[in-house]
């Protein structure tokens, strides 16, 4: 007598094969995370109060970095949490020197996720947190450099201890970033605008940016950073030219 496979066994086998085939169908690509201090940090600039500032090191510590695909697109002005259908989170804490490299150095790559699901990563969040070790230990941001004005030169080290959460939408710039297609690479960028702290001598004094910035003169006068800088008001973190929601403590 021939041995027959029961019908339920055949059906379950087919189901298993079908599900296995579908499970492997998700497309992926590489998602790269960058940090960028822009030319203000790499090339130096003139503050709103006329100090010519150049940086030797700008140590910033970043943690809890995550990229999101959101629908509808996240609006950072809402200040709400990011509600995502897809999230890629980075483990670890990254202390980097935004001033490293020459004047034309590219943004610094923090990490790469090689198997990120395809789609449009239109939101990103991170923490600026205190470093536990290294040259920036105990601080979230350390700016080391030289400021010159009217023949006076000051070597400065400005330490920021506040920890900030940044919730951002889509990158805004010359090109659109974060659009990941199968087998391709997409970039995301955390951008830091240091002219928001010191102001920009090339802009009018009554420009909004200059009105909000503290300039460099308080530091030339010996002020402590904690006494003159409220990081929540500085809006240091951006996505390209796009603003982020910022909360510091």
């Amino acid at each position: 007598m021939k041995k027959r496979f029961p019908i339920p066994v055949i059906a379950l086998s087919i189901l298993a094969v079908a599900l296995a085939g579908c499970a492997g169908g998700s497309a992926t690509g590489k998602l790269q995370f960058y940090a960028n201090g822009e030319d203000f940090v790499r090339q130096g600039f003139v503050s709103k109060d006329g100090w010519s500032i150049s940086f030797d090191h700008v140590y910033i510590t970043l943690s809890d970095i995550a990229a999101y695909q959101t629908e509808p697109p996240y609006d950072p002005s809402s200040g709400t949490d990011i509600d995502a259908k897809t999230e890629i989170a980075l483990d670890g804490v990254y202390t980097i020197d935004l001033a490293e490299g020459g004047e034309d150095a590219p943004p610094i790559m923090l990490a790469e996720v090689s198997d990120a699901p395809v789609g449009h990563y239109n939101a990103i969040s991170w923490e600026m947190s205190q470093a536990s070790s290294g040259p920036a230990a105990g601080h979230s941001l350390v700016m080391i450099g030289t400021a010159e004005k009217d023949g006076q030169s000051i070597d400065f080290t400005i330490n920021i201890d506040e920890e900030c959460e940044y919730l951002c939408g889509e990158y805004v710039g010359d090109v659109r970033k974060g659009i990941l297609e199968e087998g391709n690479t997409a970039e995301l960028e955390m951008t830091f605008h240091f002219d928001h702290i010191f102001g920009d001598g090339e802009l009018p004094q009554d420009d909004e940016l200059n009105l909000a910035a503290v300039g460099f003169q308080p530091f030339a006068d010996g002020a402590d950073a904690a006494g003159v800088i409220n990081m929540t008001d500085m809006h240091l973190g951006h996505v390209g030219e796009g603003h982020c929601h910022c909360a510091c403590e």
């Binding site: 019908i7 055949i10 059906a11 087919i14 189901l15 079908a18 599900l19 579908c22 169908g25 998700s26 497309a27 695909q69 629908e71 509808p72 697109p73 259908k85 699901p117 395809v118 789609g119 449009h120 939408g169 889509e170 805004v172 710039g173 090109v175 659109r176 659009i179 990941l180 199968e182 605008h193 002219d195 802009l203 909004e208 390209g240 030219e241 796009g242 603003h243």
Partner: protein, 154 residues
């Protein structure tokens, strides 16, 4: 024979009438009108800073839903921060408009057309789709197995 002849005659007559209708000059009424229409949607954005100051002269890039990386249209805001464009309504979905000026900018997402859902980039199948497909495969296979099983018995 008679019936066949009548059919051919009818067919030839029908073709002749049709051709005559097609090529006969149309009568034109002196007061006839032709009204056609095209549907255009014009969108106007107004870009300002948080303070309310207009982003005069800001660069604008408009992206169509089916090509999010290449600007469909570029331009600049007027002195009041205004910019207008008529999206291609044959490309429904979310149109993205990016506005930038002096290192600061933003992006707005505008639904156009009937289907205003954006391409989400998800590939493969949802759990529901997988379930339905699996059920179909099982049903088809079971039916086939039962069919052959029944044939062997007979």
């Amino acid at each position: 024979m008679f019936i066949i002849k009548l059919k051919w005659q009818s067919i030839i007559a029908a073709i002749a009438i049709t051709m005559a209708c097609l090529f006969m000059p149309m009568e034109v009424h002196a007061h006839g009108v032709n009204i056609n229409y095209t549907s255009n949607v014009e969108i106007e954005i107004i870009a300002t800073y948080d303070s309310g100051i207009p982003m005069a002269g800001a660069q604008v890039a408009v992206y169509a839903p089916d090509d999010p990386t290449t600007p469909w249209l570029t331009g600049s805001c007027d002195e009041e921060g205004r910019f207008s464009f008529a999206p291609d309504t044959a490309r429904p979905g979310i149109w993205d408009v990016q506005v930038r000026l002096a290192g600061h900018g933003g992006i707005i997402h505008i639904p156009v057309g009937g289907d205003t859902t954006t391409a989400d980039g998800q590939v493969g199948f949802s759990h529901l789709q997988i379930g339905i497909m699996s059920a179909c495969v099982i049903w088809g296979s079971t039916g086939t197995a039962l069919y052959f099983s029944k044939r062997r018995k007979t």
